[in-house]
Symmetry: D5
Subunit: 115 residues, 10 copies
């Protein structure tokens, strides 16, 4: 609940045009709820804004807020999508989360939202 309040938006100056924005954040980290060990991921956010754009610094602070959370890959990725959709109500949004190797296996989660 708290987490989502970190996100800020600004008015899209070009609402008549469909265009896409991609923010790639290679420094996402959270904690595995099973082992207590840290997880690391690159989060790629792609969206087509409607009325609102996501403010970049607030996005960084939002991602940082996961630092000490115990959360599974699939849940973190879906939660990020849901929070960002709720805050900026985009025409389209996609989250790609690329998690580092654990036990010899790396993982990617892709979640999409269409208005």
């Amino acid at each position: 609940m708290e987490k989502i309040k970190l996100l800020e938006t600004f008015d899209n100056q070009f609402p008549d045009r469909d265009y896409s924005i991609i923010h790639t954040a290679p420094e996402f980290t959270s904690v595995c709820p099973k082992t207590g060990q840290p997880d690391f991921a690159t989060i790629i956010l792609e969206y087509i804004p409607d009325r609102l754009c996501i403010e970049l610094k607030s996005l960084k602070l939002y991602y940082n807020s996961f630092r000490n959370d115990g959360i599974f890959y699939e849940n973190a990725t879906n939660k990020i999508l849901e929070d960002l959709v709720e805050v900026c109500k985009p025409r389209y949004m996609k989250i790609t989360a690329k998690f580092n190797v654990r036990g010899g296996i790396s993982s990617i989660i892709n979640v999409e939202y269409k208005k």
Copy 2:
């Protein structure tokens, strides 16, 4: 028969949404049934979960169980698909197995399942 029992699942928390999960395992190894020599592959599993997700550690143990099996490329790849489909009943699944050079030739097998 034994092998498939290594696989565990957990409940998909977001069954209302189609999203994809990719697990890349570059440390798969089995044995060539003809020559007795070890084979090495990267196994890329991509799927859209329905009710169940594949638990990552159990997936690793499942892959490891092929270590001393004598099995051909095509058979290993198809068997992995069939076991994983049986266990997690996904909406969609694809296995891409990239085998290392043997006799100057590298090989890739792609197998797909659609509900």
Copy 3:
């Protein structure tokens, strides 16, 4: 208003044929209006000319004119599209602006125009 006057065009010698031109400029720089710190981007311009092509040296001078402007990513990218469309009236145009890492996050803006 001034900025757009830097852009020059020449006659497309092959107006009967749809063909595309891509100019990649990795040395774009402007200033963040919030922090006053410089931003850096690669601007990729792709278009299908109609009657007019964009003269390359004038494009460089046009990009250089942003050097000391305070302007946000999204606004810079959309403004470049609008200026270039106004000047060369293409059949199709796309601007891809890839901004360097700020606060651990890199950003790409994609804007398109179709006649």
Copy 4:
């Protein structure tokens, strides 16, 4: 005629499913019929098996049999497709042959077969 006899097949264990097999052979060499100089290529074979799969070692020997043949790029690529189609009667097959630089120019030939 002789050459094709080098190719061996084995029964496809999964004929009910369309799946693809890719064999990449970076050590193909033949001789230019014009200059007598050796040519070098990577041959990428992709196919969807029907009843039969191509045995990997026999494929290597088949490719090796071109070693001292004088044959043009286009002819070698088309002949490989025809021989492999004749022997394994696939649902789909594609040969991509990437030839090394000659006279400052590298060449790729793509040939496809659909049942």
Copy 5:
């Protein structure tokens, strides 16, 4: 007029099949008509032959003939397409010309021909 006479063809041995040929020439050079300075490009020719294929050595000599010509990027790329189409009358042809950085900007021209 002269230039096109450098191009030679040979009979396509497989006219019943659509297949593609790609020749990549990274050593193309001409002269900028404005500054008199040399330009450098990689020319990628892709085509589906009909009755005739382009002879590789003659293609090299044809490209070399631009060495001291003063010609703009767009004109060189379109002229190459027109000459090659006239000589080999393909089912499909595409020229991609990737020009080196000038004034901090690199350029790509894509031109296509469909029968």
Copy 6:
């Protein structure tokens, strides 16, 4: 004081021979004491063991213990060297810490110890 207790060692089985061990940890993270923002680094530890080797899992836990510490680059790197030297008393040790871009600048710190 606490932190160093996380480190464990095991007996070097080959003390008569000088040999080197390199452990590369790309998932080091701490916090900037000035801004409170997270820092990320790859820590490369190279050493020649004397009587004792560093146990790998304990090294991971030791690195993880910096996760919420506010510490400058130079201090973190020197402290890691000092702790590891104290615990395993090597013949030679070198720490290379490669920190991610901050304010458009990436940083590397190299510290060495010789017996």
Copy 7:
């Protein structure tokens, strides 16, 4: 004179040990005094601190101050060395400045200081 005042230092906490610090800044830009066109470079600063270390944010501001200066490659690189040596009085310092392609030629300047 002004420019050098932007640089700040902090006390080296480990003066008894020789260790090296490398700061890589890929976003340096100045102006060519001859053509008035912008130049772009990556500045790599390597030094062994004595009593003082260079504060990272002040280094960024110092580099930024060259943004609208007309200055030749060789002079910029030597001036940076002299200013940094004056301010932090290191045991050793090296500046490597890698300038982008101009007229088809890229340039690197290496300057060193030894106490």
Copy 8:
């Protein structure tokens, strides 16, 4: 004891000259004695032969014999050196073993022998 018997040698034809031989084996695998999980490494063997060279196929079989052995990184690397030195009595030998990421850390062991 058994393991070393897999290694075969042949006479060095050029004993009057110091020259080096490097064999890189990216498919080494053993088992972690602690966790029972498989480990994977690339083994780089470099040596200057004296009277004897190591036969390549026997080297492969020797490496394969570690497949189901429980052995630590440092011990495997030192044992390989000792076995190979005993069998071929080289003028110089070096083993570099690059182990895959475990717990977010990759490891390299370098061991050398000089006559």
Copy 9:
């Protein structure tokens, strides 16, 4: 004789310090005196200036003057060294010329001058 007159110099502002300058020119082209076919090379010039530095634009024109000269690799590289040494009388100079593949073989020539 003419060619060398294209080269211009400017005064080294820092003659009291040994520092190095590297100019990398990937667009050098000349003609093979045997076949009449064009050759392509990257010329890397590294030098320590004494009283004089080489002016960059004049260096480009000097390199361009080889465009239609028939000259062997070894001779071109040595001549460039001799001309540049004569004009700027450096403390040290090195020319590395990397020629593109001809007949399947690429070539590098390294020539050095020490005062």
Copy 10:
């Protein structure tokens, strides 16, 4: 005996200066005397000429002459060195032969000659 006669030389025009020449040939192929299967290698020849340089086309023909020879890696590399030393009597020569993967292992042979 025959093979060496393929090699031709030309007079070194700059015998007063030590300079190095490197020819890299990635298309070397011979036959394994044990298995009859083809081997592939990149041969890197580096030398400092004395009175004579090796003519490039003759070098290609010399390398091509190994195409159907049954010869081991070590022997091929040493023989190439000996033939080239005998023909061009250099001040220094080094052959590096990088052989493709066989049985999962790639090999490099380095042989040197000093006058």
